[in-house]
């Protein structure tokens, strides 16, 4: 039995490596020197190759830099001392006396350079602003609507609910063009409104919260009514406090969706001040297409906030998959 478990762990570990390999390579490449990347250092180690001169042939090495090849199997070089000061320049030596050594060197400066090259600070602010307001809106409109669906009786309830559910299945590309036309006529193209207002309600959130609100026992509401608690009071004092976990999960999903959305902001805005992170990153990937190290640094700091959020909230997220009634 134990042997079989080890086999399972080996397979899982191997697949896990495949899953994180792109991220490992991204991190490694983000601190490489572009020169080394272009020279063929394309693995997982951010090393630099340094040239050394063994002048006397006794193993005592002097740091040098190859300038260009010289005739007769020799090289033109500069020699440096420990403080990177040139102590001999344009020296012609035999090629066999020059050796190379690899040493790990991390270029954290790539992050600063990438951050400065385009206004990533602005992109982050835009994204936090747009995602923050959208999530707030989604939770408010979602709680109100879910409360009505879960705990009230009214005409047309079934109809509206099924209308919502059927629209949830309609993929974004289908309504992208007419949304663009609509936002144009509202005069909202290229404004924050276009990025925020259409996303202030989310059918999935309504669905998720409705499930939760329905599960609360009726006795709670009866007791509240006897104590003279209004309908809104019951929502505020009973339903919401008892649903914190699900609301947090819904908020996290909405936040991830908003943070990662790309096609919508790409189409609906084109001024640089309005660029959200994903759009800014895509423009950056165009303008810095040969700067592998910078691109990997930018990808790293774009991914980081959500990965951290996920790591903090993962228990909540994973639990919601088990309990969200996907049993069919």
């Amino acid at each position: 039995m134990q042997d079989k478990k080890i086999f399972t762990y080996i397979i899982l570990g191997f697949c896990g490596l495949f899953m994180i390999m792109p991220f490992a390579w991204m991190l490694a490449t983000s601190v490489k020197s572009q020169l080394e990347i272009n020279k063929g250092n394309n693995g997982f180690l951010p090393y630099v190759e340094v040239d050394y001169l063994d002048l006397a042939g006794d193993g005592e090495l002097l740091r040098c830099k190859i300038l260009k090849p010289a005739p007769g199997d020799s090289l033109w070089i500069n020699i440096f001392d420990e403080n990177d000061v040139i102590i001999a320049s344009y020296l012609k030596v035999q090629a066999s006396k020059v050796t190379h050594k690899k040493s790990i060197k991390l270029f954290f400066s790539n992050f600063a350079v990438a951050w400065e090259q385009v206004p990533f600070g602005r992109y982050f602010l835009n994204t936090v602003f747009v995602s923050g307001i959208s999530v707030l809106g989604v939770i408010i409109t979602g709680s109100l609507a879910a409360y009505a669906f879960a705990r009230m009786r009214f005409k047309g309830k079934e109809f509206i609910f099924y209308l919502f559910i059927s629209m949830m299945m309609v993929p974004q590309p289908v309504y992208l063009i007419p949304s663009y036309i609509l936002l144009h006529h509202l005069g909202w193209l290229n404004t924050y409104y276009a990025l925020i207002v259409p996303w202030l309600a989310n059918i999935f959130t309504i669905f998720l919260l409705r499930q939760q609100f329905k599960s609360l026992p009726q006795e709670l509401f009866d007791a509240a009514a006897i104590d003279g608690c209004s309908r809104f009071g019951a929502l505020w004092r009973i339903v919401l406090p008892l649903s914190k976990g699900v609301i947090a999960t819904a908020a996290i999903f909405a936040f991830i969706g908003s943070w990662n959305s790309f096609m919508w902001p790409l189409v609906m805005t084109d001024s640089e001040e309005l660029r959200v992170l994903q759009v800014g990153l895509s423009y950056f990937s165009d303008s810095a297409s040969s700067q592998t190290a910078l691109l990997m640094a930018a990808s790293t700091f774009s991914i980081l906030p959500l990965v951290l959020l996920f790591l903090i909230a993962q228990k909540q997220i994973m639990a919601s998959f088990v309990s969200s009634g996907l049993k069919g």
């Binding site: 399972t8 899982l12 697949c15 896990g16 899953m19 390999m21 792109p22 390579w25 272009n38 063929g40 394309n42 409109t141 109100l144 609507a145 009505a148 669906f149 009230m152 009786r153 009214f154 509206i160 919502f164 629209m167 993929p171 974004q172 590309p173 289908v174 309504y175 992208l176 063009i177 007419p178 949304s179 663009y180 036309i181 609509l182 144009h184 207002v197 202030l200 309600a201 309908r231 991830i256 943070w259 990662n260 790309f262 096609m263 790409l266 189409v267 994903q278 990153l281 895509s282 930018a298 990808s299 991914i303 959500l306 990965v307 959020l309 996920f310 994973m318 996907l326 049993k327 069919g328």
Partner: protein, 312 residues
């Protein structure tokens, strides 16, 4: 009993969500039908042109090429993703230690943005400085063109004796297929894991008493019992694969070259974007959108019917 007075309350609670969803979801969906039948510019409706856009689609080679590319994408991504995620979930279900750790590792690609991972994979596939050719080099294999290779994968595998029409997806598209599977695998695995954990342990115990081996248990208990999950995962993966856009926009471009090489990675939603926003053919793009809509709708309905037939 006294007839209840009309209560406006529930509608007030519903109102904010209802307004947003009607204005920004229902209206655009209805409008997309209308737009596709008119000569529509950004400033408003032009002449009614009936089915002209749809007739044009039938003879548009770029449209058919993008349908073929999308078909390749779906036909490779969906089965492979389902198979791999079920296998992963089964292994994860078999362990207790480190399960949370592995679950996290598998899920991380899902929470990261498609834009960022597309950039990372584009660099991984880079012919000169990418990881793929570096790894191939370590085991002595010639570097491949990856995202720049327009030849079909079957042609590359079995030589030029394979005719072009049977060549399969280009290596460029296949590279994107790998990324797409990798990106969605974590989500599907977690859903499958949740499905597996809902299977009562007693079924397996009973099977063990009857002397069933591991494979019998998997095929006779696990597979039928997770079939609702399978249908859900199948449907979601198909729908999302149909909508692939960001990978193409970021990886096989930029600009006019996007969807290359030789149009072999131009998928249907990218073609929609190109027609609608690069070329400002709003009504033609709407017709494409509706084709996408009806394909997804009929796939969904078909899978639903299938599900009813096979439900345990």
């Amino acid at each position: 009993m006294v007839k209840k007075k009309f209560d406006i309350g529930p509608y007030l609670y519903l109102l904010p969500a209802l307004v947003i969803i009607i204005v920004f979801r229902l209206v655009p969906i209805v409008l997309s039908f209308v737009v596709s039948f008119y000569e529509w510019t950004i400033n408003g409706a032009g002449d009614f042109i009936g089915f002209a856009n749809y007739q044009k689609l039938l003879t548009d080679p770029d449209f058919w090429q993008s349908m073929l590319n999308t078909f390749y994408l779906v036909i490779f991504v969906v089965p492979l993703s389902l198979f791999l995620s079920l296998v992963f979930a089964n292994f994860l279900n078999g362990i207790t230690k480190l399960r949370a750790f592995f679950r996290t590792v598998y899920y991380i690609p899902t929470v990261t943005s498609m834009v960022a991972v597309s950039i990372v994979w584009k660099m991984i596939y880079n012919q000169e400085t990418g990881l793929m050719n570096y790894l191939l080099g370590l085991i002595g294999i010639e570097p491949l063109g990856w995202l720049a290779e327009s030849r079909g994968i079957f042609q590359l595998m079995f030589g030029s004796a394979v005719p072009a029409w049977a060549g399969g997806p280009s290596l460029a598209l296949f590279s994107i297929i790998i990324l797409t599977i990798w990106k969605g695998l974590g989500y599907n695995t977690i859903i499958y894991l949740a499905g597996l954990q809902n299977i009562p342990e007693t079924y397996y115990e009973a099977a063990s008493i009857d002397g069933a081996n591991k494979f019998t248990k998997f095929f006779k208990i696990t597979l039928p019992m997770v079939s609702p999950t399978t249908f859900y995962v199948l449907m979601m993966t198909t729908i999302t694969t149909f909508q692939v856009f960001s990978q193409i926009y970021l990886m096989t471009g930029p600009g006019a070259a996007t969807g290359g090489p030789l149009g072999t990675t131009k998928v249907i939603v990218y073609y929609l974007y190109e027609q609608g926003f690069d070329k400002q053919n709003l009504s033609y793009a709407s017709a494409i959108a509706l084709v996408v809509f009806f394909i997804i709708l009929s796939l969904t309905l078909f899978q639903r019917r299938l599900e009813k037939k096979v439900h345990y």
